[in-house]
């Protein structure tokens, strides 16, 4: 899938280096400003950042090390700790659509502006007869700056030129000052020399307190000598003072001259840096015509031949240029990149016009988007007729919508858009988009099927997991709605089933539960309490049914008493089961004598008529020797009337059977 606006990929790849270099050097912060340079002003943020990533910049300077960088493999641009996909950028898409619908710039004003820019370039052209004319260029720039489309960039350029002039004036005055200081220095040096000579010619002062002088010598001196000695010392002191003053003046003049020289150097350097920053900013703004004008002005203003960009040492920009170009970038580098950009935009627009004629709207829109991305303000792009641009508006809009549909995983809409784009553009490469749509639909449908299978197995966890995966793969999958309806419906059914289960339990209507056990089992999957109830009910009913079945078979073989006993035992445990009760009643009639014997025996036993009760149990056993009820009753009574002997060591044992048997 090639989203139409991926057209931005190529030009940005092509011009990634200069564009990002320009971005990197668009502010003084990325241009070397010296140790005392003021902190760089905040740079404008990138136009958009769809995907941001944690900034690793930390406290690094915004423009010192965070050079905008484009990864051509992924079309991810990074700048200032943020990253975004240049091929899928909402703002760029919106600007491009806006451009496609905007009328072309063919008014008189625009033409006049273009003519003004051309005239400026002509005035600054090295090929101009008589050489580049700065004064004419500045005059034309003042005129160009009045056009709205210029955004007063020419004015900014004029200010920079004026700043250079001021700087040059300042340097001139400093140079004049230094000349004056040189004269003063020469005078000061002369004074120093004269003062030094006088000091050397004057007699040295006598030492009045010297111990080396002989006494006789000293004795010949008079008071006049003392006075001449004092005047000589005073003169020597004055000479020394004068000499010191002269020396101080010389030092001061030296310092002033050095200071002025430093100021002149800094002023020139500062103006260069500021001018370079302005050029870089024009480059970042894709004002390539202004870049060319500024480069020519730079060469005119700074004719020392130093056109090297002052990049901060160790910065990403400096590294990039060193690794890509092998040399430090210069003004000429930016100039050539700007001219290349203008040429590439012209070529892109021509390509667009050709492709539109052949209804190859996909490629046409890409070429135009590329040209627009680079040369949005270039005349070739601005003057492209709207009628031509409108031919790709629909395609671009649908393609952008396709991107959005794929982003939000609306693969239904994406599929429709792919088909529409295929009809609109013969060169539309739908394979990627189609594959993405089909793959997502398949994955989502597969998970839905797995969820349904899991639901049949009452595996709630698997149901939820598969539904989540299906939703992640294709959130707007219509089948999700269907399965949701099924689940909701199932929930209603489940609730009804649970309600019925509770009601039937309260009524003791276990047979109904047993008959509809599948529904209740399914409904009580997530109900442990009801599951336990259901398990007990169904287990008991299975026992009853098994007993009834067993009794039926025994009755069929004539063993009715045994059949009755089976049902009787179940009836003792489950007297409320109607089916069991009915079968038991039927059999009771068939084995009435046996039943009567047992019941009479039981009744007499309860009335403590042991002998008669035992006789009846014996009678019942006579009727059905295998009767468990009779055997139990006999054993119970016999144990009562004939208790076992107390256990004695070595004594004989007692039992049911006599040793006489």
């Amino acid at each position: 899938m090639n989203p139409p606006f991926s057209a931005f990929r190529l030009p940005l790849r092509t011009f990634a280096l200069p564009v990002f270099l320009a971005a990197a050097s668009s502010t003084p912060g990325q241009v070397y400003t010296g140790e005392d340079a003021a902190p760089p002003p905040a740079a404008p943020n990138p136009p958009s950042a769809q995907a941001s990533q944690p900034s690793s910049a930390g406290n690094r300077g915004l423009l010192g090390f965070d050079l905008p960088f484009l990864d051509p493999g992924s079309d991810i641009a990074s700048w200032d700790g943020k990253a975004w996909n240049i091929a899928n950028n909402r703002i760029l898409q919106a600007r491009f659509e806006k451009y496609l619908n905007a009328p072309e710039d063919d008014s008189e004003v625009d033409r006049a502006y273009r003519e003004a820019l051309d005239a400026i370039l002509e005035a600054l052209s090295p090929r101009r007869q008589g050489g580049p004319s700065l004064s004419r260029a500045t005059a034309l720039m003042e005129r160009a700056a009045t056009f709205e489309i210029d955004a007063r960039l020419c004015d900014s350029l004029l200010n920079a030129v004026y700043g250079v002039w001021l700087s040059e004036r300042n340097v001139s005055s400093l140079q004049a000052a230094n000349r004056e200081l040189t004269n003063e220095l020469r005078q000061a040096n002369w004074n120093v020399e004269v003062a030094s000579e006088r000091s050397r010619l004057s007699p040295p002062p006598r030492n009045s307190g010297g111990g080396d002088q002989p006494e006789g010598g000293r004795g010949g001196q008079t008071a006049g000598d003392d006075s001449s000695t004092e005047s000589g010392g005073s003169q020597s002191m004055q000479e020394a003072t004068r000499l010191g003053t002269y020396l101080a003046q010389v030092a001061e003049i030296h310092a002033l001259r050095t200071k002025n020289k430093a100021e002149m150097a800094v002023a020139a350097f500062q103006q260069k840096v500021e001018f370079q920053s302005l050029i870089a900013q024009f480059f970042l703004q894709r004002r390539f015509e202004h870049v060319v004008i500024a480069c020519r002005l730079y060469r005119k203003l700074f004719d020392d031949g130093d056109g090297q960009l002052q990049l901060e040492k160790g910065s990403e920009a400096a590294k990039m240029f060193r690794t890509s170009l092998g040399v430090n970038p210069t003004i000429n580098t930016l100039d050539s990149f700007a001219n290349e950009a203008i040429r590439d935009v012209d070529e892109g627009v021509q390509s667009f016009l050709y492709l539109v004629e052949r209804d190859e709207l996909d490629s046409a829109s890409k070429r135009l988007a590329e040209a627009f991305a680079v040369g949005e303000y270039l005349p070739r792009v601005r003057t492209l007729p709207r009628e031509e641009k409108r031919k790709v508006v629909g395609f671009v809009r649908n393609a952008n919508q396709l991107i959005s549909a794929l982003e939000v995983k609306d693969y239904g809409l994406a599929g429709e858009l792919v088909e529409r784009l295929r009809r609109e553009a013969v060169d539309f490469d739908y394979s990627k988009a189609n594959a993405a749509v089909q793959a997502a639909k398949t994955v989502s449908d597969m998970h839905i099927q797995q969820a349904l299978l899991a639901a049949r197995k009452s595996d709630d966890a698997a149901v939820q997991d598969n539904l989540r995966k299906a939703m992640e793969a294709y959130p707007t999958n219509p089948k999700l709605q269907e399965i949701s309806s099924l689940i909701v419906g199932a929930n209603d059914i489940q609730g009804q089933a649970l309600s019925d289960l509770d009601r039937l339990i309260s009524e003791g209507n276990y047979r109904t539960i047993y008959k509809d056990q599948a529904r209740f089992i399914a409904a009580s999957v997530a109900e442990p309490r009801r599951q336990e109830q259901l398990r007990e009910i169904l287990g008991n009913l299975r026992r009853i049914d098994v007993g009834i079945e067993q009794a039926s078979r025994l009755a069929e073989t004539g063993n009715r008493e045994a059949a009755w006993e089976i049902l009787e035992r179940l009836f003792d445990e489950f007297p409320d089961d109607k089916e069991l009760s009915a079968r038991r009643s039927d059999l009771t009639t068939e084995v009435a004598g046996f039943v009567r014997a047992l019941r009479t025996a039981k009744s007499l036993e309860e009335r403590r008529q042991t002998g008669s009760s035992l006789a009846w149990y014996l009678k019942a056993r006579q009727l059905f020797p295998g009767s468990e009820y009779a055997s139990d009753g006999i054993q119970r009574i016999v144990d009562t009337v004939l208790p076992d002997d107390p256990p004695l060591a070595g004594a004989g044992t007692s039992g049911e059977t006599s040793p006489l048997d």
Binding site: R608, T610, G611, A615, V638, L642, P643, D644
Partner: protein
Amino acid sequence: MPRRARSALSAGLLLPLAALLLLLLGGGYFGMRILTKDRRDPTSFHGVTHLDVNQYLENGNSLRGNTYQITGVVESHLKWTAAGGRVLSVQFQGNPLPVRIPADIANESIQKGEEYRFKVQVEQDGLLVAKTLEKI
């Protein structure tokens, strides 16, 4: 003429008469002895009535304290203890009746299927307890 022959019985007639008299007196005496002896013997079945099975099955407790005789085949041994004796099931008039044989009279070998006559007494809980038995 003297009436000599009419007032004196002849010796030949008196002697048989006396023998007959003595015989009658002796027979009567021994008969009375026998009759008196049977009534005093607890092992005797003389005068012991047969058990009314239906009445016993209906309400054995109502017969408590009475002594009956039953004659039947030993159907099965229900239990035996050395101290308490045994409990038998005796088939009597088509009904199996439980009879407890105390240990003091249970020394006789009683086999299943053998027919016995039991003199039984209905005890407190309506159970038939044998007082004596004899094999038939």
